[in-house]
């Protein structure tokens, strides 16, 4: 029970009314004087009553007690008491629980935020009326419906219990989309219901969701139940492992650590190679991100305050494959971002096949890249070459094949970079050339375009290439992609729709080749396509996202050892690829492939939004702003009508007793 009125109001009323009432009873009653013949018998009667009734004094004060009770009821009503009852939710309630990494924060009493969220969800389920139905969705980077709409509370409770903690990042959009789809009335309901009922979306989250701005709530209302209170966290937000360009046996490990709390933090960082401690560095005192209150209201954007993050570099000789682990010392609210892992393959220079009818720039540039061997041939030679010159163990002999001004169907499993051409595979169509169009959009964050200034590129014409849906466009023109990545089965293509020369191969088609951006692009492209072969590490996987590995030839499945010591099986496809998706926990997933560098995958959180664990109080969604409440918002129902009713009854009782005493 809560009181709406300030505390001093009922206190003042008590002081002003109760003592005077009691005082009135202590004061001698002004009695009406009445002469009688003799007080002899009256006095005797009064004495008799007092002797015979031990509770007579109490009885005579019953009116005082009743009047005190009346006063207390009135004072209580002045204090405006309320009791929190179940809220008047809509008929359809969608319970959406965050199971992302930041929900693993322990909030004391060995309860994580997910435990607290489940508790609140259970309370919400208990508060459901019999005519209400609910569904349960758990989400991290993916949303999963654990229970469709039902009014079976046991089923809903079981669904809530099934929600497991993941180390994945939180993305609400998919969960909301799912919820809205489920909340839409089905055809039968829509036909029978005269009024379309809205849904109530209750999201239990700590609120660090980077995609809330994309969320629209079309029909229904959204409530955010903010879970958690802790804000102290220091985490590894980036891990970059590279081999030295000149000396590949030298490994550089770059770790970025950031303080997300409100107190300065001091930590040590350790480097372990194959579980052996190799180096420890002390991190200088990390400045707090913001003060305690501001943390819950600020978005994580812009440059960090000075001294808030630090980059630590390790350099060590490593001539073999290895599993790298970096660890932060100390404890904080979120332990999973205190460790990061990397799988480092053995140093090996790339083998490149350049297929070109004659391209001066590529012929000069590619061999200058950190490659072991660069073979150059014409398209005709490529098409006519025997399989043993191109294929080994079912895979292409070369790490990257660069095909310039040529489209081909001869594509053994491998990595390809096309200029003014495309793989002739299903779903790819090459149309007529497009001239004089600007680039409309590009993704500068993609590794291929890192440090490449796309606006500085001028291209005269490019091919209108239609790619399958799974292609990732990196540069988009008005008609379609100009630069795109396409993964298909065991092949990986980077398709550039324009060539360096025009169709007559007389004039330059782009001035890109004349500036340093092109050199960076080719370097990025080779690194990207060759993957871990040339880079320092195998591309790490985000928690919750799948990875694909090549199985042993003729093997039906791949055995995977999870970080928690359990084994999983991933079925291999006919093409020899196995996709594994249960990467919910951070750590190293060992894969029995037998191929060095392919025998493990590192799953790292490395997400600033998840490491920023301070609960978010302000939510902004596309259709407005939602305030996050600390607990399940139960409606406040006023108690004063009941008090008034009781007041009336007590008043009636008092009246009856008074009259019974007086009129005999």
């Amino acid at each position: 029970m809560n009181f709406l009125a300030p505390w001093y109001l009922p206190a003042l009323a008590t002081v002003l009314t109760v003592p005077p009432l009691v005082l009135l009873y202590f004061l001698k009653l002004k009695r009406q004087e009445l002469p009688i013949s003799s007080t002899l018998l009256w006095k005797r009667a009064v004495e008799d009553l007092q002797v015979n009734a031990p509770f007579q004094r109490l009885k005579s004060n019953l009116l005082l007690f009743l009047q005190l009770l009346l006063l207390l009821l009135a004072i209580l009503a002045i204090a405006e008491p309320t009791w929190s009852g179940p809220r008047d939710w809509k008929k359809s309630v969608v319970l959406i629980l965050d199971q992302s990494a930041s929900m693993a924060v322990e909030e004391g009493a060995r309860q994580t935020r997910l435990d607290l969220a489940k508790e609140q969800a259970r309370q919400a389920i208990n508060d459901l009326a019999s005519n209400q139905k609910a569904m349960v969705i758990g989400f991290s980077n993916r949303a999963r419906v654990l229970q469709t709409f039902t009014n079976d509370k046991n089923a809903l409770h079981r669904a809530v219990e099934r929600i497991e903690q993941t180390d994945a990042v939180g993305r609400l959009t998919e969960a909301m989309n799912l919820a809205e789809v489920y909340a839409m009335p089905t055809g039968e309901e829509a036909a029978t219901e005269t009024e379309v009922s809205d849904a109530q979306y209750i999201v239990f989250t700590d609120g660090r969701l980077p995609d809330t701005a994309d969320i629209t709530v079309q029909r229904g209302t959204m409530d955010i139940v903010r879970i958690g209170n802790r804000r102290d966290n220091v985490g590894i937000v980036n891990l970059d492992v590279r081999r030295n360009y000149e000396k590949p046996e030298l490994l550089s490990v770059l770790v970025r650590v950031r303080n997300f709390g409100y107190d300065p933090a001091s930590r040590d960082i350790s480097l372990l190679v194959d579980d052996q401690l190799r180096s420890v560095q002390a991190i200088p005192l990390l400045a707090p991100l913001a003060d305690r209150e501001l943390l819950t209201r600020m978005p994580l954007s812009g440059l960090p305050p000075e001294g808030n993050e630090v980059s630590i570099a390790f350099e060590l000789p490593l001539a073999t494959a290895a599993r790298i682990e970096v660890r932060l010392s100390g404890t904080d609210a979120l332990p999973i971002d205190d460790r990061a892992y990397a799988i480092v393959p053995p140093p090996r220079a790339m083998n490149i096949l350049l297929v070109t009818p004659g391209n001066y720039y590529l012929r000069r540039l590619v061999p200058a890249m950190p490659v072991a061997n660069c073979t150059i041939c014409s398209p005709e030679e490529y098409e006519e070459a025997s399989d043993d010159k191109l294929i080994e163990n079912g895979r292409c002999l070369y790490d990257v094949v660069i095909i310039d001004g040529h489209s081909t169907e001869r594509l053994p499993a491998g990595n390809y970079l096309f200029f003014a051409g495309a793989p002739l595979i299903e779903g790819v169509r090459i149309g007529p050339g497009i001239e004089g169009q600007p680039f409309l959009d590009w993704d500068e964050t993609h590794p291929v375009l890192r440090h490449v200034s796309v606006p500085a590129i001028n291209v005269f014409s490019w091919l209108d290439i239609k790619l399958p849906n799974q292609a990732i466009p990196l540069i988009e023109g008005p008609e379609g992609p100009v630069l795109a990545v396409l993964r298909q089965e065991r092949n990986q293509y980077l398709i550039c729709a324009f060539g360096l020369f025009d169709s007559t191969r007389t004039y330059l088609n782009t001035d890109w080749v004349l500036n340093e951006g092109f050199v960076v692009f080719v370097y990025n492209a080779l690194r990207y396509l060759a993957g871990a072969t040339s880079a320092g590490q195998i591309e790490p996987v985000r928690p919750g996202e799948p990875f694909t590995v090549a199985a042993r030839p003729e093997a039906a499945s791949v055995r995977i050892l999870r970080p928690d010591g359990e084994y999983d099986q991933a079925t291999a496809s006919p093409t020899g690829l196995a996709t594994y998706g249960r990467t919910n926990k951070v750590g190293i997933y060992s894969i029995a492939t037998g191929i060095a560098g392919e025998d493990a995958r590192a799953v790292n959180l490395l997400d600033e939004q998840e490491s920023f664990i301070a609960p978010n109080k302000d939510f902004h969604i596309a259709t407005g702003s939602v305030t996050a409440t600390g607990s399940l918002d139960r409606s406040r129902r006023p108690l004063w009508p009941y008090l008034l009713m009781t007041f009336g009854l007590v008043l009636l009782l008092e009246w009856i007793i008074y009259n019974k005493r007086v009129f005999v």
């Binding site: 009653l29 009695r31 009406q32 004087e33 009445l34 002469p35 009688i36 013949s37 003799s38 007080t39 002899l40 018998l41 009256w42 006095k43 005797r44 009667a45 009064v46 008799d48 009553l49 009734a53 005579s60 019974k660 005493r661 007086v662 009129f663 005999v664």
Partner: protein
């Protein structure tokens, strides 16, 4: 306070009283010749007994017929007829003023009626009032013609002061050794108690009648609320909050008080009569007092 005679006795009622006489259950010596048989043997016409002649007896009362037959001298004895002493003790304390009709008027009317009956039957009538002090007193009136003086006395009788029955009865017993009928009219609500006073009267061997008068307000109090009751005799205060229980308790006490008085009287040969002032006066005198044997 002057009360008109008619209020005490109206002529019509006086006519009805003419037929009544006061009865004494005991035979007393009288002081003067009267119409009532005395314990003393005297000179009336009614033969009572014989006794042996002793020298000195009046020879006129010798029964010569018996002497002729038995040759022995016997003296004839005759009943003596003397007057009866009728005393009326009236409580004139302030408490008698209470009630509607008030007890004082009611008591004075009884006193007037009994006095009238006594006077017309040649009894010696005394009327004594008392409160906290003894008196005033009207002593030894005889004859019909004295009724006016008696009525005048009663009409001017004032009820004031606290009652002190014990002192009044003691004084009365000392001053009135003459035996006779004593009618005590009071509410008997005396804080000093009625026992002592009655014992004094009983001790004198009077033919005692105790008439207790209570007003209807005393029998069935119509009270409500928080009251301060003031005793009109001694200004004693009693604070009460009227409840059903209190009223019940009061009635029980009153009943017990009256029963105790009745028992006290019964054990000592005192005739007790309880009457509320709501009982019509005529009915009381003509019916109840006759039933109790005071009048015939």
């Amino acid at each position: 306070m002057t009360t008109r005679y008619n209020e005490l006795l109206d002529p019509e009622f006086m006519n009805r009283l003419e037929r009544l006489d006061i009865v004494s259950r005991k035979i007393y010596f009288g002081r003067m010749k009267g119409e009532r048989r005395s314990k003393r043997k005297g000179q009336s016409v009614e033969f009572a007994d014989y006794r042996n002649y002793v020298s000195g007896d009046d020879l006129r009362f010798l029964d010569w017929n018996i002497y002729a037959r038995l040759e022995r001298l016997f003296i004839k004895l005759f009943f003596e007829e003397e007057d009866l002493h009728v005393s009326i003790l009236v409580d004139a304390s302030a408490s008698m003023r209470y009630g509607n009709p008030d007890k004082a008027l009611y008591a004075r009317r009884i006193a007037a009626a009994v006095s009238y009956i006594g006077l017309i039957n040649y009894n010696r009538v005394s009327v004594t009032a008392y409160s906290d002090r003894y008196g005033p007193e009207l002593v030894g009136f005889r004859g019909r013609h004295m009724i006016h003086q008696v009525l005048d006395f009663l009409a001017n009788l004032d009820s004031a002061g606290a009652g002190n029955m014990a002192a009044a009865c003691r004084r009365y017993a000392i001053r009135h050794p003459q035996k006779g009928v004593v009618l005590l009219l009071s509410d008997f609500l005396d804080k000093g108690g009625y026992e002592t006073g009655l014992r004094y009267l009983v001790g004198r061997n009077y033919d005692l009648y105790a008439v207790q008068l209570l007003a209807p307000e005393e029998i069935e109090p119509k009270l409500a609320g928080d009251l301060q009751l003031r005793d009109i005799e001694d200004n004693d205060l009693a604070e009460i909050t009227v409840t059903r229980a209190l009223l019940n308790r009061y009635k029980q006490n009153l009943n017990a008080y009256c029963l105790a008085l009745r028992d006290f009287c019964a054990r000592r040969g005192v005739t007790y009569l309880f009457t509320p002032t709501t009982v019509p006066f005529n009915q009381l005198v003509l019916t109840y007092l006759r039933q109790r044997g005071l009048l015939k």
